[in-house]
């Protein structure tokens, strides 16, 4: 059990800056997921905590004590790798016990007991005498998890542990990881590029891009109140639509004006400041609905369907509005065809405005953006780039 603190951590490889000064607090016993596209610095961040890389600047602390200069083995952290990193010539059991001897003070009987416990917990008791080559991907990852568990470390560090598994197994292992954390309550930092994994697993999700933290928040708040365009478009599948609009004020309130529509914007924080300027309107595909005949045409977006993608549980429509494209989801058996003109009404409580240049969020139409009811604060550095 431990709390991890990163303070202004920087990592450079020669001229390449992988991590550009990040601050992060991982509370004791929490499951924090770091998510971002390839090359965003998330794995490097994890490796800095593990001690496999050394920080160029800043401080990494565990329970307030600096880890800078502390050897990986003395940090009491266990890591799970994407490629499992099992020793190929050792049986599953030997893989689990091999490092435990040097990493812990447990005697042989204690290690044996722990292996038995972990094997039961992970349902791999029957596989202990097999070598990795005789195990499936999921089984290998369980063994790797078992190896981490029996050491009883302060912190689990997981570097894309499910990325080598097929889709079905990934979903199952995801649920098992969540259950495992429920049981063990060991502080966990989990790195992934998969936003679904991030949303489902994390108590808190850290979105990174270009070596910087974009936002740290609970999964639902990330989805509801993205701090900037990057987070808005990275979290959620299909991605949020972004359309450049002019924000105008009128007698009946502010409107987002686009060549294809003029959408009323409900009052909210930041809206007044955005009036009379250009902004990017963000609206998620799932928040747009096909309008019925009686809809107020004023609040609808007229769009021409260009592509239809039946997903089974819904029908994904790609539409053209003016010169822009947007995606929306229709009910699965609606008879919309490509070439049709449809009226789309957005959920008025699910609109976002972002700064055109910097991409920072200016306004969320839903209440609670600035005063979350669970007492969490939305921490987000500006998305401007200096380098």
């Amino acid at each position: 059990m431990a709390r991890i603190t990163l303070e202004n951590v920087r990592k450079e490889y020669g001229d390449v800056v992988a991590v550009r000064g990040i601050d992060l607090e991982v509370p004791d016993g929490s499951f924090v997921v770091v998510v971002g596209p390839s090359g965003c610095g998330k794995s490097t961040t994890l490796r800095l905590v593990a001690g496999l890389e050394s920080v160029t600047d800043g401080d990494v602390r565990k329970d307030g004590e600096s880890l800078v200069g502390v050897e990986p083995k003395d940090r009491d952290v266990a890591m799970v790798f994407q490629n499992y990193a099992l020793y190929p010539h050792m049986t599953a059991e030997r893989n689990m016990t091999f490092g435990a001897g040097s990493a812990t003070d447990f005697d042989d009987a204690e290690i044996e007991r722990r292996v038995a416990d972990a094997a039961e917990l992970l349902d791999i008791a029957d596989l202990l005498d097999r070598k990795p080559e005789a195990l499936s991907g999921g089984e290998r990852q369980r063994v790797a998890l078992g190896r981490a568990i029996i050491r009883d470390p302060d912190v689990f560090l997981m570097d894309e542990p499910l990325s080598n598994l097929d889709a079905k197994l990934r979903i199952r292992m995801r649920a098992e990881l969540a259950k495992l954390h429920e049981e063990l309550r060991t502080t966990t930092v989990y790195v992934t590029h998969d936003q679904t994994e991030a949303m489902t697993l994390g108590d808190e999700v850290v979105v990174m891009n270009d070596g910087r933290i974009q936002q740290v928040d609970s999964p639902q708040r990330l989805y509801d109140y993205p701090a900037n365009r990057f987070v808005a478009e990275f979290i959620g599948d299909p991605a949020m639509n972004a359309l450049e609009v002019a924000v105008e004020s009128g007698a009946d309130g502010a409107r987002a004006a686009h060549p294809g529509f003029r959408l009323p914007l409900p009052d909210g924080d930041g809206l007044d400041a955005a009036v009379d300027s250009r902004a990017v309107l963000g609206v998620r595909p799932e928040d747009l609905s096909l309008a019925g005949a009686d809809t107020d045409a004023d609040a609808a977006i007229e769009a021409t369907v260009t592509v239809t993608e039946p997903l089974g549980d819904s029908l994904l429509l790609e539409c053209r509005v003016g010169d822009d494209r947007l995606k929306t989801q229709a009910s699965p058996r609606s008879d919309v065809r490509s070439g049709d003109t449809v009226a789309l009404t957005p959920d008025p409580d699910r609109l976002h405005l972002f700064d055109v240049e910097a991409g920072t969020a200016l306004y969320h139409s839903a209440e609670g953006a600035t005063a979350p009811d669970d007492g969490r604060t939305t921490r987000s550095p500006p998305a401007t780039s200096e380098e």
Binding site: A50, G51, L52, E71, P72, K73, D74, R75, V77, A78, M79, F81, Q82, N83, A85, Y87, P88, H89, F98, G99, A100, S102, A103, K131, P132, E133, R147, R151
Partner: protein, 322 residues
């Protein structure tokens, strides 16, 4: 026709195989059969007279204590070379693997001796370790002028301390022109030195193929360096190591001829008279083709049996899984 037809006709395939088959037959199989045939004869030099003697040549070898010594020497030499080369190369490869700066430079320095012809290497060491003229000889033999410097401060204090004197009596005397064990040690060291490069190439490649995450897991678990090398790397590298053990054995038996020829000429008193040199002398200096042929057949059998054992052991222990 289940398989893909690459050639238009069988004749075309055969024609393409012909050069390889021809070379193998002319330079390998026919000589091998002829050597066995010749080992059953006594061949008179110059006269061209050939007498069938049956297994007489082999019987002579069985009873020759000189030849027994040669076999024993060769086996000792091969074991020393294979073990020496492989443990030293493993250490060098591991150091290169672990070092962070100047990997390339170290790798090149470790490999270059391999590019030297054996005869040249032999000459280089002949002079480096020449009992009278060798540069290295001076460093090995007393007096040690560098140690003499230690006496200076005591001299200044007026105390007479003799550091080099006592060492003079116990220090080694490089004399491999007449000392058998020294000559044997010398050719062994040179043979090892020459073969390290070849081993380092393969071992480094094999070590670099080990996934970095295994090393990182070991580091996180606090597995010590030596333990990491011996208990993680070596087992994973075992197919490469098995291959190298075989190549090094062949090298020790056949590839070390030049060192002996250039440096010791099999001496002193047969102390470095390994089988390949021994049979060369019989054939091309004494012109006893019958005996030499019998010896080459024996050498072939010895190496053949060794290869068989090595392959079996390898199959048993080398890890080939993925």
């Amino acid at each position: 026709m289940a398989t893909r037809e690459v050639f238009e006709s069988r004749w075309q395939a055969a024609a393409l195989l012909l050069p390889t088959v021809l070379v193998s037959v002319v330079f390998l199989y026919v000589p091998a059969v002829r050597a066995f045939e010749l080992s059953l004869f006594e061949v008179g030099f110059g006269t061209g007279e050939v007498d069938f003697v049956g297994l007489e040549n082999y019987r002579a070898l069985l009873t020759s204590s000189e030849y027994h010594l040669s076999v024993l020497l060769t086996v000792l030499f091969a074991v020393a070379v294979v073990v020496g080369v492989m443990s030293f190369s493993l250490l060098v490869s591991f150091l290169i693997h672990e070092v962070e700066v100047g990997k390339g430079l170290y790798l090149v320095s470790a490999i270059w001796p391999y590019a030297l012809p054996p005869a040249v290497a032999g000459f280089v060491f002949f002079f480096l370790l020449h009992p009278d003229l060798g540069v290295l000889t001076r460093a090995i033999e007393p007096p040690y002028p560098a140690l003499g410097l230690l006496e200076r401060p005591f001299e200044a204090l007026g105390v007479d301390v003799d550091v080099t004197g006592p060492l003079e009596a116990v220090g080694p005397d490089v004399d491999w022109f007449s000392s058998g064990p020294q000559a044997f040690a010398l050719v062994t060291v040179v043979a090892i030195w020459k073969q390290v490069g070849y081993n380092v190439i393969f071992m480094s490649a094999s070590m670099n193929n080990i996934p970095g995450s295994l090393t990182e897991t070991a580091r996180l678990d606090g597995v010590g360096r030596l333990e990491r090398l011996l208990r993680i790397y070596v087992p994973i590298m075992s197919p490469t190591l098995a291959f190298l053990a075989i190549m090094n054995t062949i090298y020790a038996f056949f590839g070390t001829f030049a060192f002996i020829d250039v440096m010791t000429d099999g001496g002193p008193a047969g102390a470095t008279n390994i089988l390949i040199f021994d049979l060369y002398r019989d054939a091309l200096q004494n012109f006893e083709f019958g005996t030499a042929s019998a010896k080459s057949v024996v050498l072939f059998l010895v190496v053949g049996v060794l290869m068989y054992v090595q392959f079996r052991v390898t199959e048993e222990y080398a890890y080939y899984g993925g």
